[in-house]
């Protein structure tokens, strides 16, 4: 009998709702934010498909706990869209405070969706964070314009991304490497089964489609505006002609796809794929350092340019731990956290900060990083192509699914 009572008592634990956090923290009064944040638990909804990134977030959690008394819990997502879905669902259910998502790793279409539906903590807070002073807004235009959408302080920059390809010098000669997507198609035809891309709507897979579109479209300026439904078929014809040619000569003849870019890394290590890509220039160095790839792997990009963007952190309007989320966002933007993030032995994600704005000690942290032989220097990365308007991503994904996502 006692056992039963005990278990019913246990069942009751945790069912009492906590009081809603109605106070709106003001980042310009940072001390108050720090005070408010102490003891809060921040549920950080971030893509969890890569171990080194998860480890880095784990480290940030430990530091936040120790320095600011903020507990960071990583809610590992397969797709950022599901965090947006949660906030949308909560808004629909009238849960305007005390939400379950406090901080989201985000950019592009998901940011655009949240901004449009008013799901983000506002007014703009990112540029009021103390570490904003170090951010390289002058030379990195994507920090204030996320996939053509103005950021307006509604998300704080976390890292820079550029589409970079990787190959194993033990299997491919440098002179055989493709120099643009047409070259890639030709290479794939000569080496059937050795190239693939993550299955859209995976973020990196969809990005590859955008890379092709950006290269092949007649008038690139169309991509800066929302999709014009009337002209969509005509404008994207070169893209889908390209894919019709590429898919049959891909890995598994395009009947299956890697689920994301870390999966492609494993396939490169297994010699199933010969050319892979990621949005992080240091991915290969990082993987070599972790024993996942052989040390003969190197990087390359297209001389004509590859997609580049910034990834951000944002706070939902109904977050339970807004102050804690602000503290976390600020910490993740700090020179110390950014330098650690840029180290390929840890993650290798490029910083959003301007090194000339840092003090000597912080600059030294960055100078000390060994980017590894497989990482291209910033001046070797080639030109940056702008991200299209987020509506393109959604539209292309839908069209891709219709054409290739359902088998034949």
């Amino acid at each position: 009998m006692r056992a039963l009572l005990f278990s019913t008592a246990l069942l009751a634990i945790g069912t009492a709702p906590a009081a809603a956090d109605t106070t709106q923290p003001d980042p310009s009064n940072w001390d108050a934010v720090l005070e408010d944040a102490r003891g809060e638990t921040v549920y950080f909804n971030a893509w969890g498909g890569s171990q080194n990134i998860n480890d880095y977030i784990g480290w940030a959690g430990d530091e936040l706990k120790e320095r600011f008394g903020v507990t960071l819990k990583h809610v590992k997502l397969e797709d950022t869209a599901s965090a947006v879905a949660t906030v949308v669902a909560e808004k629909a259910a009238g849960r305007d405070g005390n939400g379950t998502v406090d901080l989201i790793w985000i950019n592009g279409e998901n940011f655009a969706a949240m901004k449009e539906q008013g799901l983000i903590l506002s007014p703009g807070w990112a540029e009021k964070l103390p570490n904003w002073t170090f951010v390289d807004v002058e030379n990195k235009p994507t920090i204030r314009t996320d996939f053509t959408v103005p950021v307006e302080g509604l998300e704080s920059p976390w890292g820079m991304a550029k589409l970079v390809f990787f190959y194993d010098t033990a299997r491919i000669k440098v002179e055989d490497l493709p120099r643009d997507t047409d070259g890639l198609l030709k290479w794939a035809q000569e080496n059937p089964g050795r190239f693939s891309y993550p299955q859209p709507p995976d973020f990196i897979g969809s990005s590859f489609l955008k890379q092709v579109l950006a290269e092949k479209i007649d008038d690139p300026s169309l991509l800066l505006d929302p999709v014009d439904e009337e002209r969509f078929a005509e404008v994207t014809k070169p893209l889908f002609d390209f894919l019709d040619g590429l898919n049959p000569v891909m890995w598994r003849s395009g009947r299956a796809y890697p689920q994301n870019y870390p999966a492609m890394k494993q396939l490169l290590a297994d010699s199933e794929l010969d050319i892979i890509f990621a949005f992080n220039p240091a991915e290969a160095s990082s993987a070599i350092a972790n024993g996942e790839l052989p040390d003969t792997v190197r990087s390359f990009t297209f001389p004509g340019g590859t997609l580049a963007n910034t990834h951000f952190l944002t706070i939902p309007y109904n977050a339970s731990a807004k102050a804690g989320a602000l503290v976390a966002a600020n910490f993740l933007m700090s020179p110390e956290a950014q330098a650690r993030k840029q180290d390929p032995a840890i993650w290798g994600d490029p910083t959003v900060l301007a090194l000339d704005k840092l003090n000597e000690e912080d600059r030294a942290r960055f100078d000390a990083i060994d980017l590894g032989a497989a990482t291209l220097r910033p001046d070797e990365l080639g030109p940056a192509l702008d991200e299209p308007h987020p509506s393109w991503m959604e539209r292309i994904e839908t069209e891709w699914k219709r054409r290739y996502g359902v088998g034949n």
Binding site: L10, K73, V88
Partner: protein, 559 residues
Amino acid sequence: MLTRLGPMLAIGLLTAPVAFGLAGTVLPAFGYLPALGGMEFGLAPFATLFAEPAILMSALMSLVTGLVTAAISLTAVMLFTAAWGGTRLFARIQHLISPLLSLPHAASAFALAFLIAPSGMIARLISPELTGWERPPDLLIVHDPLGLSMMAGLIVKEIPFLLLVTLAALPQVKPARMRALIASMGYGRISGFVLGLWPSIYPQIRLPVFAVIAFATSVVDVAAILGPTTPAPLAVRLVNWMNDPDLSMRFLASAGAVLQLGVTAAAILIWIGFEKIGARLRDRVACAGRRLRRDSGLRWGALAAMLVSAGAIFAGLLALGLWSVAGLWQYPDLLPARFDLRNWMRVLPSLVEPLAITLFVAFISTLVAVVIAILCFVREDEMGYPPGRGALALLYMPLLVPQVAFLFGLQLLFILTGVQATMAALVFAHLVFVLPYAYLSLKDPWRAFDRRYDQIAAGLGKGPVERFFQIRLPMLARPLLAVAAIGFSVSVGLYLPTLLIGAGRLTTITTEAVALASGGNRRVIGIYAFMQMVLPAAGFAVATIVPALIFRRYRDMHV
């Protein structure tokens, strides 16, 4: 008084979540969900559903998977029991296979994937010497469009389950005597068993077979690890829609869940048709009087099928273990170039929390389930008769209704009441699945208890409470702990309930492992799958060692 609560609690626990959950799924499927602005009933969600590309293909895939999985695993179990039942070899194989029962589905799917992938262990073992594959062949084995890998992954897991339920049903048909009798009439081992014993065994294991069909038609984790991706089986697509940022997709997902319900029901109905055909076929063979004595090929085939299915999992688990400590390990090396404990060191910190949640939820849900099951049995003893067939069907309810079909609605209910992602909600959701197993596996040991001990104790002046705690419980310690170990392993392996009710905030080893599957990081997957394997094994170890310690001074309680 208290014991009366037992059956009520059990019935409430098993039916309420399923009923409410189904309502919460079916209403939105017909357009009704006021929280999202759906005020009117209509068929719009179904129109959207059937406009989805290749939706019928997905549904068909689920249907076929369920039927093929059940047919192959049941046939293997039937033939094996027929050919080898009663032999020493049978007992050996049974011991080899039963641990697989406690292995979570996801872990066995991983094990199989590591084995059969083009760069997997089998390819490495025979390459390049036998195959000439200097590089992995470009073959679509894992995620193949026909779902064969997925079916294989399910079959190797369902064989131990069906074998166990068959073994439980076997004693009631007095197999040794029947075998001797049938053999004396000149029948072969297999034909004798299939014609003479199977007809009275099958009705007893029919519900478990239906449960296998229901599970295989709606499985998510195994399908995500091994199943086709273009398009994915129905249940996988449903869960994706459920997680879509566009909330109107919830209507679509709910309509899909209703379709899933239909697919599962159709699969079971088709199976019932198979049963009829099978029965007629059997009658025909029986009436023809053929003895079919020359069945040695089939006998060895059945043995081989059992050995291959168990061997594949064990070899795959070995590969998982190797990957978890591998440094650089390139194809076609059979062993890693370096061994490295760094993977473990890196993963351990992030392993702690899911591990703690896994243990807590499994422990509490098992405890509650066992207590409720005991209350039910005590009540039965008081009443003097066992529950009818209806009650038994009720027990199977959470196992027969596809998980997605009622978990969607249950999740919605939990969101609306604000208890989603709480420990209590998660324990509750697990309890729904643990309770049936606890009840079913405690049933026989409980009824087999020799009531004369009770009578003697009563004669010595012990009241019912004393008798229960001082005689019945200690004497049943061994089966009780075994039941607890089963419940524990069920809870550890639960994927979808944890995913939907835990909402990503409460994660267990199993949800983490499946989430990692898409990343293809074999080292990390190896570690998580290894933990998935170790936890249930630890549970069974405890269930074996503790009674041995308790009873070390009671010779008659030794086994």
